[in-house]
């Protein structure tokens, strides 16, 4: 039956032609100052989405707001021609920004382009750092919050679930996000090339600046066993150690501490070599020659160049890591076509689903129309002076109901079976095919 079909498609309410619209700005269209002003906190995002839905402007809304983008996805029942302008106005009002400031900074997408944009975003194809992984989690969180807030419906549910699937597939099937593209991440990846799993290993970080912090984050993400931090300013080392569950050491204890770790990261400023070959030789003797990886992120270098080539000491400096980063960036770029192919595949799937949903809405509207005509005809016939008996009325009611069911069932079953019909239904030829008008003539022939 047609009603079953509609239920299968949407999973909730039946709707007519629903269009997706997107407005937003990102690192490519807006400077940081503007991005800061149009960013939504999670609470603001939920409130704005709810307000838009309640105002009747749109039926469904999700706002994705990260440090590099603020995007508003909406679904409207009818044409979205004026919708982007309405959304931009709301955007401007919400953040108390003159519309003029947003001129040329906001992009608008609708239908296919909107779906494609979201799929590219979750894949990391639209990110500042190509293939970054964080965006997938950020979109997932935005979707979960909106779903919990009740501002989503069947279209955005499907769109965002498809988007999360695309994000996972791109990361699993391509190398878009596998190779490190920051110096800190590349250094940590190199240590894994030596020690494998970092879980049972110990690292000593010399310095407590931003780069050192990045290294620490990467080491923690890779499951490093123990972390020791040493800095000229003990307070800063202690503060960082507290944040990353490490142990701060006094600057004077640096040389003695070199015996324990398998990884030493140097990220300090200064013109002298803090780590000399003789210091490393002593340390290697004390540690019975166990392999040691030294990552020197300081410029000028804080490890004596003569230390290079020592047995079981692996020394990397910023030049080595920079070269790896460049190589990895190129490798990531080479993966773009494979990622785009996955995006396109899912955009087509989503549009096919959306068309089938629209088709189901169309059929349901037709059923309602036929039903109301049926009721009206029956009423006029039986309420008149020559109205038939109750038995006649019952038979006629049953007959006309069955007739409607048969009329609607045919296109519904066509939609169920034939994928090509799920593309946007446009033109009379498609409608003739959808309603099986050409087939019905053949069937009537003896």
């Amino acid at each position: 039956m047609a009603s079953n079909f509609i239920g299968e498609q949407s999973g909730s309410t039946i709707r007519g032609r629903a269009e997706i619209a997107l407005i937003g700005c990102n690192h490519q269209t807006a400077p940081l100052e503007l991005r800061e002003r149009v960013a939504f906190t999670p609470e603001q995002a939920l409130r704005a989405a709810k307000e838009l839905c309640n105002s009747g402007t749109i039926e469904e809304a999700i706002i994705v707001s990260t440090c590099n983008r603020s995007e508003l996805y909406g679904v409207a029942e009818e044409s979205v021609e004026s919708l982007p302008d309405t959304l931009i106005s709301y955007f401007s009002d919400f953040h108390k920004l003159p519309l003029g400031e947003l001129n040329g900074r906001i992009y608008q997408r609708a239908g296919r382009e909107a779906a494609q944009h979201l799929f590219r975003v979750v894949s990391g194809l639209d990110s500042m750092m190509l293939g970054e992984a964080e965006i997938l989690g950020q979109v997932r969180e935005a979707y979960k919050r909106a779903a919990g807030n009740g501002s989503t419906g069947p279209v955005l549910h499907r769109l965002f679930q498809s988007a999360l699937e695309v994000g996972k597939r791109v990361r699993a099937e391509t190398e878009l996000g596998t190779r490190p593209v920051s110096v800190a991440a590349a250094g940590v990846k190199l240590t894994e090339r030596i020690f494998g799993d970092l879980k049972g290993h110990r690292a000593l970080i010399v310095g407590a600046g931003a780069v050192a912090e990045q290294v620490v984050e990467n080491l923690r993400a890779r499951g490093i066993g123990e972390l020791e931090l040493v800095n000229r300013s003990f307070e800063r080392a202690e503060e960082l150690a507290r944040r990353v569950s490490g142990k701060a050491l006094e600057w004077e204890g640096f040389e003695a501490a070199m015996v324990r770790p398998d990884i030493i990261v140097m990220s300090v400023s200064g013109s002298t070599h803090l780590l000399t070959r003789s210091m490393l030789e002593h340390a290697m003797l004390a540690r019975s020659g166990r392999a040691l990886c030294v990552i020197d992120l300081s410029v000028p270098r804080s490890v004596e160049p003569e230390a290079e080539g020592m047995y079981n000491v692996y020394l990397f400096n910023v030049d080595h890591l920079g070269e790896i980063v460049e190589q990895n960036k190129k490798a990531r770029e080479a993966e773009i076509p494979r990622a785009e192919a996955i995006v396109d595949e899912h955009v087509n799937k989503f549009l096919a689903w959306q068309s089938s949903l629209e088709g189901a809405g169309l059929l349901e509207a037709l059923r309602h129309r036929l039903e109301s005509e049926r009721q009206s005809l029956l009423a006029s016939h039986f309420n008149g002076a020559h109205g038939g008996s109750s038995v006649d009325r019952e038979r006629l009611e049953k007959l006309t109901r069955e007739l409607i069911d048969r009329v609607v069932e045919l296109p519904a079953s066509h939609l169920r079976r034939e994928r090509k019909l799920r593309r946007p239904v446009e033109g009379l030829a498609a409608l003739r095919e959808l309603f099986g008008l050409d087939d019905s003539e053949d069937k009537e022939k003896p």
Binding site: E175, R193, I194, G196, A291
Partner: protein, 273 residues
């Protein structure tokens, strides 16, 4: 007696398909290409086993009488040992190095295989069969440790130069390569010690004495000694790393010498490969 090569060819095709899977796994990543490569390797090992079984049925003994049988058995044990290491260490990245050697060994065996199977009635019995089979298993394990050591040395060099290529990121870490190589040496050492003991027992039963002065026996004892030294050195941190890998790779030269030159030109009774 004639022997059909159908299963050997099937095994070769499956090994080649498995190799393609390992290469894809190395360059494109993803779990599926790796899993398919391993599955194809398992199928190849099964097909290869049936090829060896068929040959055994023809000669009523383990197929080691001739160069073909020995090489085919060696290739099979190489694949089996590698599969064991892959499962134990959960690393597939060196499959693309090991499987080509399996293919090469089996392909050469197929090409040089005689259509008529020779057989020495003296070389029969379970003890003798075990002696030879376990001996070949030891050679296969040493061959894998050699390949792993070579990969270690290459990767170590690449790391030291600080300019790794794209495939570099897919290889196992130095530490993993070292552990895989050590596991392989342990398997080889135990297998060779067992094979040597079984050989002594078999010879004593057959002749009533032990031919300790035979070059094959002497070289085998040297092989046992150098690999035992390798394992002892591996316990000291200062020897671990590139030095240990170099020793392991050099040790294999003695294994090769024992497997080829000694068998062909020096030994009196170890004419079996």
């Amino acid at each position: 007696m004639t022997y059909s090569m159908g299963m050997d060819i099937a095994a070769l095709v499956l090994y080649a398909a498995s190799f393609t899977g390992y290469v894809l796994h190395l360059y494109r990543g993803g779990h599926w290409s790796g899993r398919i490569a391993t599955l194809l390797l398992v199928l190849a090992i099964v097909a290869h086993y049936y090829a060896l079984l068929e040959r055994s049925h023809v000669i009523h003994a383990i197929p080691y009488d001739d160069l073909y049988g020995s090489m085919s058995l060696f290739a099979w044990l190489l694949a089996v040992t590698y599969l064991g290491l892959e499962v134990f260490h959960r690393r597939r990245a060196v499959g693309f190095v090991v499987v080509p050697f399996v293919i090469l060994w089996l392909a050469v065996a197929v090409v040089v295989a005689p259509s008529r199977v020779p057989h020495d009635p003296a070389a029969n019995g379970a003890l003798f069969a075990l002696h030879i089979t376990i001996g070949i298993l030891a050679y296969a394990a040493f061959a894998i440790s050699f390949l792993l050591s070579v990969i270690y040395l290459i990767q170590n060099r690449v790391l030291r130069r600080g300019r790794p290529g794209l495939a570099f990121w897919r290889f196992p870490a130095l530490d993993v390569l070292e552990r895989m190589s050590r596991s392989s040496v342990v398997v080889g050492l135990v297998a060779l010690a067992l094979a040597t003991t079984l050989g002594f027992v078999w010879e004593h039963r057959l002749t009533g004495h032990l031919a300790m002065a035979d070059p094959k026996v002497l070289v085998t004892l040297i092989v046992l000694a150098v690999y035992a030294i390798y394992l002892v050195l591996m316990r000291a941190s200062a020897w671990r790393g590139a030095r240990a890998a170099l020793i392991c790779a050099c040790n294999f030269a003695i294994v090769l010498f024992s497997y080829t030159a000694v068998n062909l030109y020096f030994t009196g009774f170890h004419r079996f490969f």
